[in-house]
């Protein structure tokens, strides 16, 4: 973005790195203060100390489960990158650094709630019980959208065109409301997604219809090579006010804060209170995808800082200090993560290309004669 056009803006996502801008890089972790604007809701600081009421109403075994899931998800994410390098997956978009944002939010959902994801929510998918091998068939190039059953898993298909899943979520939530269900819809999207017309139209319509919806934005600082400060001159959570519903800014690397914020938003929605927009401040530690080289556009120091504010280390520190878990538990989780990653790897590597006919088998529920003729001709039948 033209420096001359960006007057008044910090030129980089976090105001940390940046050419032509003299920023004295603060040592230590990425802190909320590095983000422009309003400080987020935070319960556990980067160093693992409590800074708010950490009693979010979860039993110790559930608190442990949160850590377990984060550890398992990260391990799988790294395995996926390895699988891509080995040619077993096509381009893969990693989520390292965003485990708390995804798992904390997905964890707050009830079994009947429904999720519409983007392409980066494997960690959330695992929480919802989506089969990892089936999910990864998308990234293997076996099937667009992922061949898992969205109705059974209550997790929508992987959605690529930025922000287009947001109106889907609005429609789904409207359906829930019309059915008088006690269920909600949650939709994930990124900071960059908030610049699309579909974000706006969906959010505004959600407000008008007062549907039970949580709009969950993972602001991970970057949209490919464009930092959030160049994506918008405002703060994302503040958009909610213009739509007439609450907006919340939460530390997306604080799993307890994310959980609490999502739980509250879902409770509001369930009670007929309509939508909430949650902006979770997190950080994309890795590349946009395995096809991307962030060295071209961002300073490594930012990444180091983000690592020092790691959501898993932070939560583990807090959990250990709180006495709800011990080191043995952490080791156990790591063991489970390793085993799971290997199991998924094996499943992925085993996945074969679908038969050619499948290209024609689901286009229509009621294929016309003309379509069937085309199909036969194409298949040389």
């Amino acid at each position: 973005m033209p420096a001359s056009l960006a007057s008044g803006l910090i030129p980089y996502a976090l105001g940390v790195s940046g050419e032509g801008v003299d920023v004295s890089v603060p040592a230590g972790p990425l802190e909320p203060a590095h983000w422009a604007g309003t400080p987020p809701l935070r319960l556990v600081a980067s160093d693992g100390t409590a800074v708010g009421d950490t009693d979010v109403g979860l039993a110790p075994e559930v608190l442990r489960d949160l850590l377990r899931r984060m550890i398992v998800a990260r391990r799988l994410d790294r395995e996926c990158i390895a699988l891509q390098r080995q040619g077993e997956l096509t381009v893969y978009p990693g989520f390292e650094g965003q485990e708390a944002a995804q798992i904390g939010s997905a964890f707050a959902l009830g079994p009947d709630d429904f999720v519409f994801p983007t392409f980066r929510e494997l960690a959330a998918a695992l929480v919802r019980g989506v089969d990892a091998v089936q999910y990864l068939q998308y990234h293997r190039g076996t099937w667009h959208g992922g061949p898992y059953d969205p109705r059974a898993t209550r997790f929508g298909p992987i959605s690529i065109p930025i922000a287009t899943q947001i109106p889907h979520a609005v429609g789904h939530a409207l359906g829930q409301k019309l059915d008088g269900l006690d269920a909600c819809t949650l939709v994930y999207f990124g900071d960059g997604s908030t610049s699309e017309g579909d974000f706006h139209e969906g959010a505004n319509m959600a407000g008008v219809f007062g549907v039970p919806l949580v709009l969950f934005c993972q602001n991970n600082g970057w949209a490919i090579s464009v930092p959030t400060t160049q994506q918008t001159a405002g703060e994302i959570w503040r958009r909610a006010e213009g739509y007439g519903f609450p907006g919340v800014r939460v530390d997306g690397n604080d799993v307890l804060a994310v959980y609490a914020a999502t739980r509250d938003a879902l409770a509001l929605a369930r009670s007929g209170g309509g939508p909430t927009l949650i902006e979770a401040l997190t950080y994309r530690v890795g590349a946009h995808s395995t096809a991307d080289d962030p060295g071209r556009y961002r300073d490594a120091v930012e990444v180091e800082m983000a690592r020092a504010s790691d959501p898993i280390a932070r939560y583990a520190t807090w959990l250990l200090a709180s006495g709800h878990a011990d080191h043995a538990f952490v080791s156990e989780c790591e063991g489970e993560a390793e085993a799971f990653a290997m199991e998924v790897r094996a499943g992925v590597v085993d996945t074969e290309a679908p038969p050619v006919e499948w290209m024609f088998d689901w286009t229509f529920a009621a294929p016309t004669d003309a379509f069937q003729r085309m199909r036969r001709e194409a298949l040389g039948e």
Binding site: T164, P167, V170, H172, D198, W362, T368
Partner: protein, 335 residues
Amino acid sequence: MSEAARGPATQAREWTLSGALNQALRDALTEDPRLLVFGEDVGRSGGVFRVTDGLQTEFGPNRVFDTPISEAAIAGTAVGLAFAGWRSVIEFQFDAFSYPALEQVIDHVAKMRERVRGRVDMPITIRIPSFGGIRGKEHHGESPETYYVHTAGLKVVVPSSALDGYTLMRHAIADPDPVVILEPKVRYWSKEAGELEADGPGIGVGRVVRDGDGAAIVTYGAMVATCVEAADALTADGVQARVVDLRSLSPLDDELLATSARETGRVVVVHEAPRTLGMAAEIAARLMELAFDHLEAPVGRVTGHDVPYPSASLEAHYRPSVERIRTAVLEAVNY
């Protein structure tokens, strides 16, 4: 009282296209409690062309409702509702106002079922008042069919008359797949007497509206009446022209096209859309494939020109006229 409320659906009477479409929506809403109708100004006001007149009063504001001016979100909402087991009829107010939703329609309405391997159907009917001839403002006279017909995963129909409007609308709504229905706005007030039939000819089936074996004029929508007029005029030239009303643009009725070509040897396709990659291109290409040896002349194309749809004062020079059609048929006959 809305027009349609005057008599039961099955009783023979005179219908306007607008009234017949209204009755189709009413009957479908009655039969299927999980059908919704929504869009801009379709609720309280009953639609710019009265097609949804009275429906909100009759079925309540949870079934028939107005939305903000957000075409992309209207289409996207219908997709989400399908995930929740609801069937939708959505309206884009005029042809060009369907364009803001093209991403949602191309990427999701058309592809979602394939993406989820049939776990979720997309029973979405997209109503678009279309085509020119109403002395409309800019963007109110366009022919958007190519954008939809080229998009795999959609079905596209165009009624040319009131009774067939009812039939096609009922088929569109009943279909488990997304169907775009382009309503020729210049014919909304044209009347036709007869009985409404929910299970008349379906999607993919064309019809011969005027018989003849000297040439075949293939068309759809508002142009059907114009082509019939041209065919009538052609009798003075000694040509008995058949007029084929396609009804369904996707899929096309290949049998009917092939038969017409074989039986007449001379085919002229007529539409308002710009010529390049308009429907006539596809039909010409197909006829070569289906009936090459029977064609005595190149398939003629009488179409809009490859320029933006003009203002009211010029639209008569843009839309195919009886005279242009007649000339093209004679050219084909005398080839």
